[in-house]
């Protein structure tokens, strides 16, 4: 048998076995992402926006890595994966975060930008099943960005709460009202720092029928940076005595009402809670004046006395 014939016989015998893989299993590891997009339609030049995407898998018995490639030709340089181009998924870990940071350059054109981020899972040790066309899973992240040349001042209220509070108290002639700490989880959906412009409380009796007091926040509310979500608090004075009430709150963004609703309000007898109440800022105008006026009078008197004394010294010197 010559060499050609021998090779033919060998191949003819062996090739049929080429794809008779042995490592095929019926259950495979799933993969998913949430959310499957990076989206921001209010980016401005020089702004930075971060969004977290969860990479999720179903089989945590093997270590994997997520290989990330960015496919966004116009904005390739803007996008950075904070965790790097490969994200480890150790044994036992079912989900890992992937943070996409978008840094808009100062000369970016005002327009919409699209692209994609592809994530592919691979065995961390690089090995795949021998003799098989293995399948790796991945997911596509859609990129939808818009760079605009105007400021958007908007926010969304994600959560509200009003903790129990002490009723107001009187110190000599000064009445310090109770302080409602109205907490709001604010998501800045615009592109400039923002806070609710005003929070109004209309406090009713427990049955919600009789309006007892209308009050609004004192002082400014902390601002939430662009694209951020933070808990901020409005300090609202109340003169109501200890009792259980229903408060109808309204959260304003300028002229717009961002949210309104009902919340229970429990005012406890003074001293029930070890929480700070209002100080000087909570006093009524009349009470503020009653403190400031004597102080100013004393200051003026002191200045006058100082001036007289100074002139007297000068006169003596002459």
């Amino acid at each position: 048998m010559n060499l050609v014939v021998r090779n033919f016989v060998v191949l003819a015998f062996l090739i049929p076995l080429l794809f008779l893989s042995s490592g095929i299993s019926e259950v495979f590891a799933g993969f998913g992402i949430t959310p499957p997009y990076v989206r921001n339609t209010s980016l401005t030049r020089n702004s930075t926006y971060e969004q977290q995407i969860l990479l999720v898998r179903s089989d945590t018995d093997v270590a994997q890595k997520a290989e990330i490639t960015i496919d966004a030709p116009l904005i390739q340089d803007w996008i950075q994966i904070v965790e790097g181009g490969e994200i480890r998924m150790p044994v036992g870990v079912q989900k890992v975060p992937m943070t996409v940071r978008v840094t808009v350059p100062k000369d970016a054109e005002f327009k919409d930008y699209k692209g994609a981020i592809r994530i592919r899972t691979l065995p961390d040790d690089g090995q795949i099943s021998a003799g098989a066309v293995s399948i790796s899973l991945g997911a596509l992240v859609d990129i939808n960005l818009s760079v605009i040349d105007r400021q958007i001042r908007d926010f969304r209220v994600r959560k509200i709460s009003a903790a129990d509070l002490n009723e107001g108290n009187k110190l000599f002639w000064l009445y310090f009202p109770g302080k409602i700490n109205f907490d709001m989880l604010i998501e800045n959906t615009g592109n400039v720092a923002i806070a609710p412009s005003e929070v109004v409380f209309r406090i009713f009796d427990r049955a919600g029928k009789v309006l007892l007091e209308e009050t609004s926040n004192i002082g400014k509310i902390a601002k939430v940076p662009p694209y951020g979500t933070e808990l901020v608090s409005a300090k609202i004075p109340t003169h109501l005595p200890a009792n259980s009430y229903v408060a109808r709150y309204t959260i304003y963004n300028g002229e717009d009402i961002k949210q309104e609703g009902d919340i229970s309000l429990n005012i406890l007898p003074y001293g029930s809670l070890e929480t700070a109440g209002f100080g000087f800022i909570g006093l009524s105008l009349a009470h503020k004046v009653s403190i400031l006026l004597p102080l100013f009078a004393l200051m003026i008197a002191g200045l006058y006395w100082w001036k007289i004394r100074r002139e007297s010294k000068r006169y003596r010197r002459q």
Partner: protein
């Protein structure tokens, strides 16, 4: 003595004799008295004061008012004396000879009768009496001259006291001189406005029935009613008041209220059927409460039938929940993280309040249950009402289902310590299935989903199985898209193929499962195959040992393998795709969103594969490669 009978024919013979006898008798008495010094003791003062031989008897003089009589507590039309109370008079009388005196008060000015004491040593022992036909209101005890005398009489309704007309009075001061007791001649009726005559007696109001318009809810007004009136006409109709107390033990007739158990009293002017309104406490148990009614007139005179008892009921009200008191997932979006299963650990916090307090009268829990429905907003609480029948893992999670179906796990975070407390705060965790509809504004989210969000409705149930209205949260949250893919088999099985041959059809399959909550498409790319392939170690460019990736063809249907196609897709049938290692190619398998949780019903899509083994391949053995399936969120129309 002689006279002429002729001139005085009717002259009596004894005329003039009696005068003489009388004169002689008087002379004899005088001489006898003088001789035996009769009355020397009695008339010693006179004797001492005078040496006159004439005598004079100085008679007793009556006492006189030096302070006009007055009613100690003025009794007049506007200040009548309540029946049963005493009317008192006071005055100061002075007797010129220092004898004690009596203050006598009578109903008319009929001259009273002064009585004499049995002797000078018993002065002050014989009080005077009112004149005939006069009611004696009272006479004081013997009072030292010049000091205050007081007399009182206890009034009653009827008898000698008139409640319909004023009761006049006249006052005298009298002594009881043993020989010549006397009262002052002109009675006095007082000089001091309302404390002068007459006095007025105020009748008790009449109180025959007591009730209320209950049952009422906490915080509502309850009105206590009475059948009551006042019989007095003097001075016009009198106002009467209903005082309601929770016990019959601490009513104070002086203050006409209850010290610690006061409930309500009449606050307006009523002359009949007095009523009183009470605004019930905002937090009050549903129970029966004791109520005792007291009727009192405007002068503080209580009805004889006080108190009457008629309990009132506070009705049961359903628990309530406020939208602002419901917090879904701590204010964060709902993000799924388990493919083909339930993602656990979502949170729900809410407060259930009950105006009947959280504590029953038996110190058991008033708020016993809650009704929870977490839903996609389009469906609302009408569709997703908390009942088991409304359950749908795509958009409605009611706690009416068994926990084996949906395990909402809640626990109170506070204790109910007082009947003045009305709330129970709950903190819950719950899972969501991977099929739960997304509502976030993803680029491929269908509008019908995107305009929605996920909300939660909650109602409370009390111990009387009364359930309140379902309130929805003020802060609904978005449910985030979750694109997830799974593969039935981890490899593509081509079978045995000789060099120079190819799969007759695209018959090898790979089945992708949609295990997320979006519609799904699939991108594919892959590497060349060889016996040494590993991740990061691609196959060498060898015609005899490497099967180029483009030799693999795939499609959504099992077409015949296109053997004419060349590298790069030349001559390739348009419905077939050629595998590329550099370009991801989307396979429009269009797997709809999975809507059932059971794996038997998961949506799936099949990709059909075929391969050609180049004739140049001479190396027999196991060839391996790696194809990548990338999950792509399907277009909105393909969900």
């Amino acid at each position: 003595m002689s006279y002429k009978k002729e001139e005085f024919p009717h002259y009596v013979k004894t005329a003039g004799k009696i005068s003489i006898i009388a004169a002689l008798t008087g002379l004899m008495v005088f001489v006898f008295t003088l001789m035996f010094d009769v009355g020397a003791k009695e008339f010693s003062k006179v004797s001492a004061a005078s040496t006159a031989t004439t005598t004079l008897t100085v008679l007793n003089t009556p006492p006189a008012f030096t302070l006009e009589p007055y009613e100690v507590i003025g009794s007049a039309t506007t200040t009548p004396t309540n029946s049963g109370d005493a009317v008192s008079w006071s005055a100061i009388g002075t007797d010129s000879n220092g004898a004690p005196y009596f203050l006598l008060v009578c109903s008319t000015n009929a001259v009273p009768t002064a009585h004499n004491a049995s002797g000078p040593g018993n002065l002050g022992s014989a009080p005077p009496e009112c004149g005939v036909g006069s009611v004696q209101w009272g006479v004081s005890a013997s009072t030292t001259s010049g000091t205050l005398a007081t007399v009182a009489t206890t009034t009653i309704e009827g008898g000698q006291f008139s409640t319909s007309t004023p009761n006049d009075w006249y006052a005298w001061v009298c002594d009881d001189d043993p020989s010549n007791p006397r009262c002052n001649s002109v009675p006095s009726q007082g000089l001091y406005a309302t404390s002068s005559s007459p006095f007025h007696v105020n009748s008790r109001p009449i109180f025959s029935a007591f009730g209320n318009n209950g049952p009422k809810e906490p915080g509502a007004d309850i009105t206590f009613q009475s059948t009551s009136s006042d019989p007095d006409l003097l001075g016009g109709d009198q106002n009467i008041y209903l005082v309601v107390c929770s016990t019959n033990t601490d009513y104070n007739p002086t203050t006409n209220t209850c010290a610690t158990n006061f409930i309500a009293s009449t606050s307006i002017s009523l002359t009949d059927d007095a009523s009183a309104t009470k605004t019930l406490d905002a937090i009050l148990r549903d129970d029966t409460y004791a109520a005792y009614g007291y009727i009192v007139d405007q002068y503080g005179h209580e009805a004889a039938t006080n108190p009457l008892n008629f309990d009132f009921d506070v009705s049961n009200v359903a628990p309530t929940v406020l939208g602002g008191d419901i917090t879904l997932n701590g204010g964060s979006a709902l993000s799924l993280a388990v493919m083909g299963g339930e993602t656990t650990g979502f949170t729900l916090d809410f407060i259930v309040r009950d105006a009947n307090s959280c504590l029953t009268a038996a110190s058991t829990t008033e708020i016993v249950d809650y009704n929870v429905a977490i839903f996609r907003s389009s469906y609302g609480t009408t569709t997703c009402d908390g009942s088991a029948g409304s359950y749908d893992p795509n958009y409605c999670y009611p706690n009416g289902v068994a926990t084996t179906t949906w395990n909402l796990s809640c626990a109170p975070t506070n204790t109910c310590a007082s009947p003045l407390q009305d709330n129970i705060n709950y903190s819950c965790t719950f899972p969501l299935w991977f099929v739960a509809d997304p509502t976030d504004p993803g680029p491929n989210t269908p509008t019908a989903y995107e305009v929605d969000n996920w909300s939660v409705g909650i109602s409370g149930t009390d111990d009387d199985t009364l359930t309140g209205p379902m309130a929805t949260t003020s802060n609904p949250q978005e449910l985030i898209s979750f694109s997830a893919i799974d593969i039935v088999s981890s490899a593509i099985v081509y079978g045995g193929i000789e060099p120079g041959f190819n799969s007759p059809t695209l018959s090898a399959t790979s089945t992708a499962l949609n295990v997320g909550n979006t519609g799904l498409d699939q991108e594919v790319r892959g590497e060349s195959m060889c016996g040494t392939f590993a991740v990061g170690n691609n196959c060498p460019t060898s015609p005899t040992s490497t099967i180029p990736e483009w030799r693999q063809q795939f499609s959504t249907t099992t077409y015949a393998y296109d053997a004419d196609a060349t590298e790069g897709g030349g001559l390739l049938d348009p419905w077939i795709l050629q595998l590329s290692s550099s370009t991801n190619q989307e396979v429009e398998i269009n797997i709809p969103k999975t809507v059932a949780t059971s794996s038997a019903f998961w949506q799936e899509g099949t990709t059909y594969w075929g391969i050609a083994v180049p004739v140049a391949i001479t190396l027999a053995g196991n060839y391996q490669g790696l194809n990548t399936y990338t999950a792509v969120t399907a277009e909105p129309g393909d969900w």
